[in-house]
Symmetry: D3
């Protein structure tokens, strides 16, 4: 048989070389969520993508939430599910269930899947090695929504112990000084981890094509924007894009070189973003 097809494959490999060079030895934080976490095929592709990143010398850190799974268990237990401004109203029982689902189910599913694709991972939550210290936060309208927390402090020591040989996978829950547990928005957690680690890049997987100039028009994706520009517009932004853009600002202002919002419905969107010029989604950059 003619070796033409393999040659084409190898040529492709070599086209990735400049990108591999750029990211070699760099830390990349990935907020994992949405369709890429729900669709079985996308889930496997995500795991392979992250394992490949590790093998070509990148230091990937996965941060995840898991809203749908939490809601499913709330339903099985006959508990009411309520949201205020997109934040889950969380009494102590809700937080306990959310934490069990995120840490004991979603997190370990990701850890096992990465392992099956050839790279041992270690799952963590904010409690492990005191990774996150959380503090209660109110809803934007000031309403008390219970044990919903923001991150006061990230202690990256435990990541340093683990990231050399394993892929760290972080569930976005954490406790305050008194040991109360909190739901933490996973976008916020990813931004805070990227900032604390001085990551090179942070990537947010979503179920839209990026930040849309006109939310009704899927073709109005803003390809590149400065963090300052995002900050100016933030007050007018609502919905799921808001915490992502806020986390982009947080990361960029904290020294991260680029923050991208990527369409997780597209297979291999992580690798497309890192290793090709496809230019999917929205990239937030420091002001020039």
């Amino acid at each position: 048989m003619s070796p033409t097809a393999p040659i084409r494959d190898v040529a492709t490999l070599l086209e990735a070389l400049p990108y591999i060079r750029e990211f070699h030895g760099k830390t990349v934080v990935i907020k994992y969520g949405g369709a890429a976490m729900v669709d079985p095929a996308l889930r496997e592709e995500f795991a392979r993508d992250v394992v490949l990143m590790k093998y070509v010398g990148i230091n990937p850190i996965v941060v995840h939430g898991g809203g749908p799974d939490i809601t499913a268990y709330m339903d099985r237990l006959g508990l009411p599910v309520e949201f205020v401004s997109g934040l889950r109203v969380s009494d102590a029982d809700t937080v306990e269930i959310a934490k069990m689902v995120l840490v004991g189910k979603v997190n370990k599913d990701i850890v096992l899947r990465l392992g099956r694709h050839g790279q041992p991972a270690v799952g963590l939550c904010g409690d492990d090695g005191m990774l996150f210290r959380a503090a209660r936060k109110a809803a934007p309208n000031g309403e008390d929504i219970g044990f919903v927390g923001s991150i006061e402090r990230v202690d990256t020591d435990v990541l340093t112990h683990i990231a050399q040989d394993y892929i760290p996978v972080i569930a976005s829950v954490g406790a305050d000084r008194d040991g109360n547990s909190y739901n933490i928005n996973a976008d916020e957690a990813a931004g805070a981890v990227a900032r604390a680690l001085g990551a090179y890049k942070v990537m947010f997987l979503t179920d839209v094509r990026g930040w849309l100039r006109d939310p009704a028009d899927q073709d109005s994706v803003i390809n590149e924007v400065t963090a300052d520009e995002v900050e100016r517009q933030l007050p007018e932004i609502a919905g799921g894009m808001r915490p992502k853009l806020a986390a982009c600002i947080e990361a960029i202002h904290g020294g991260v070189s680029s923050a991208v919002i990527v369409d997780g419905r597209v297979p291999h969107s992580l690798l497309l973003e890192l290793f090709t010029d496809a230019g999917l989604g929205t990239m937030v950059k420091p002001a020039i």
Copy 2:
């Protein structure tokens, strides 16, 4: 004020010195369970005891199960709870719930409590860093009881990364090569971890006074016994003492210097066992 009371305290501290010397730099695996995990006061004492062990130079590793919490959630979800020879019959849904409860609730409670007492801990389960590889096992009567596993292999690398600066806390669940999760008996897990680490000692907390010559007579505790002697008697032993004694044999035959079954209802039974001559419970030793 006379310093008599503090002097007595300090004298006590010094009485522990020979024991501290003996255990300094040694690894001690602790199977945590029973009353010490349920009773709020004992829970706090347990955490303080383990933190003290870390501070005086011991390397403690905690392994835990959490049956009552699992059953409670099974009940909340209206699911049937069934045991065969003391092993929980586990379909896929049961294992998922058990894993969530152990990894996402029980484990993190322990981690947070150790942290509050001054020593950061990191929670792990068999999936993290591929710590355990499990295989399905049948009930002693040969009955299929679903996803109940035994441990085929322990990969201690992840513990080495963590145990220098943190107390590892291990939930006894694990997956097989295909990624199926299993309930694993926590006594078995503690014995296997102690053996794999070449631990100096493994301690099993129970709710009885030790291995009783006559189960009906609480005063018939066997204080010391060789592993060979236990092995001879094992076929006739039933109930919760059986997996503990089996794990003692496994550990001792694997090179661990001593395995003790300790009454966890007694406050500070860990420290009493390590740092005094009180001689609670049953100690299994290698043949002389």
Copy 3:
């Protein structure tokens, strides 16, 4: 037998936990002298106390003099013993004898005693690894008192080589650039070592209850005082308390967090000071 007594012992152990936590990994310099060095029982207790400190993660450094032993040998040799302002007038022969006694007898007695209590120690004097560089100093009244030296420079390298695995025990003698040996006040030496190492604490064992507001009244102990306050009063202080207080000032101004003058006649005064609230003696602190 009822385990009540051991339980009380273990409870005591746990009361020390917050203190152990505070001092874990910290360097504590101890000026050893007085009754604690003369009384056989106190001598043993001192050794056990220091060994315990090492085992619970503290890095103790012992600095000692040994006046009475020197005087005894001077007497045996029929040599005159003379003091000016508390400083031993030292011709070359006197210094040679003092050095032999301190380095070859007192120091090794301490080293052996620590070893017998379970912790190997290494004895040093200012000559070893060029630990001290001394310079001749005059008596306060300007009188020439011979080879009595002050410390110009401390080279802590040799301590770094030794303190990881051994307890360093330092005899307070040293030489100048030309190789002439000097008697050095051990309080001064302890203060200088604490300062050079950036120690966390320096402790001076004495035969009084602390710094007394009224030297005639043993109950007038000043419990806590700032270094600045001590400095203001220093010109009026005479006797053995003077070099101790001067060394406290030196240490505190050099960055040591606390300096305490402790009654060495009280058994376990070191541990009482470190691990209880007994509050013996005088603590000198930085100005607030």
Copy 4:
């Protein structure tokens, strides 16, 4: 624009993942020569291939000869070029010229080209760090052919110093104990280096399609063969394939897992061999 093309590219990248996994952290020795060293385009492709290997975690070591360049300089200098059984008859002047050309021209060309593709390299010959100790060898017919050497000893220390951060590029010349320089066959050198390093694989680039069952029939390539089988047939093999096959035997018997003879005229034959199933050339394996 549709991201279809990049997706195809990324999919290709992922197809390489199992191969990247296999070779990650492994040492691969490459005998570089023939068309791949002469043809300008192939030369660039070779450099990119080796740099990519380094970036995906492989430790590549390049060993090269350079016959045509040597002959060209011999011609410019008006010196006779003579071969016996494929070995260059080498008087002292010839060896001096060969060494200058290999070490000062061919080697540095490779080093510079790897650098331009993004990976600093360091050029070595057998003299550097006493990498090779050579001994004079006769032609197969026993004829004295001058300073043509075989390798008596490989000292890999210098490679260990360099290979962590650089790609080592080795010119196949070396000296004996008395400092006389020798031409060394580069196939032999590659085999000896692979053996001494305990390499995972050694690859020989040639200008034919592999080891041909029938030298006249380019389609008679033997795809896979054991080292023992090659050894049996070696006495009947002549020409340039002979030293390659002898080096394969040497490497495999010394513990190298596989030795392959690859067609260097095919672009990217290195990557095709490593990262696809294309199966070019001849693979020599240990006996099963």
Copy 5:
């Protein structure tokens, strides 16, 4: 036999002790050239001197040119040899030949000779580990003289990898960003390497007795001079002394403690300069 002669020898060894102490652990860069590189006896002495330096704890780095060897090969190839202001006019062919001679012949001769005297060495040129980045320079009169380069950047990483266990021997050629090779003046290279390494001393071997106040009078050697004084006089200096003095200024202004121009015709001039008060040649020092 009487041991008088050995005693005298040993006494001599001890006279070197203060000098050995001064240079212990220090980096000394040696520009090797002239008679010491041509005369067979001086060549051996040079190698022994450098090996001795290594054995007594100095870190020697040898930098060399090799003009006469280059000219000899140019002659053998029938190529014209042309100089402008002491710089070799270098077309691409000339540079190729110069590089082959320097890297493939002269450098390896030095490497082998050091090895024979007991200390393995590693030869490098500016291409290895991207040690030098060169840029084209014009002759002082502005005339284009081809591929004659100056050093824009020294990357000392590769020296750090090698100098711990080997003596680095550097041939003064290098390439620009585009991969074009250049002749580089070896005096300039030695000065640049000394500066980049923060060397303690740089030594230039020449064939005259030093910098002569009156070039016609061999007895007019300037023994000591400041770099500023040299800089003032530099515009009037021509010939081979000019690049040496320029390199001295470059090194001293870059922080090197002393730069000496030494008569390489005197046997052991390196050791005489380092280990005795003989005071040969000219020492350039920082301004006082």
Copy 6:
């Protein structure tokens, strides 16, 4: 001035090169005593010799006794001095004085002298870091001679901590398990240290020309002998040569490559032995 004299000096330096090469990185234990410790000029020469050894890469360990100084102090104190078979009869008081003199005077004199010659040293005795464990031994005739000990065990850990940066200087006293101190023969101590360290060479300084075939004939020195031969003759040997020869046997049988008895009255006998072919004294070698 003509540089002839320095050239001769440098030539001498180079003659030592092969010896420096042989001993580079090797441990050499030196038993220091006799005239070299008493004569002021020899004392300085000894210190310079040892410092030079350190500077040329040897790892010297000095072991010393100090009989004359002990006797002098015994006399000053009016105490009787008694010997049985060359061993000092030692009651507790005698040992205390001996220890003070050896550890506090002789040892520190050596430490200071090495420091003044440029190399910091650290003095140790058998108590430090539990270097020696001693046991009481009787005189050869079975008579009880008090606290005279032999070495049961050498713990070289403390030497490892110190010898990298300092010259260890060891006084030959030590204690038993109960803390009783003992006089230890310094020849025995040197042999035991050399054996425990796996030293390359052990050297004994004496006041005779070596082991004499005929003790009355200073010219009957045995230049070289095997340890087995010495062992055969040992029963008939008496006097100070006996413990030296016994220590040579002990060292050689324990793996030390050579043991030499050297005339310490000859200036620089250490360097003459190591760095020239002068061949002073007696060398004991393993059987061939």
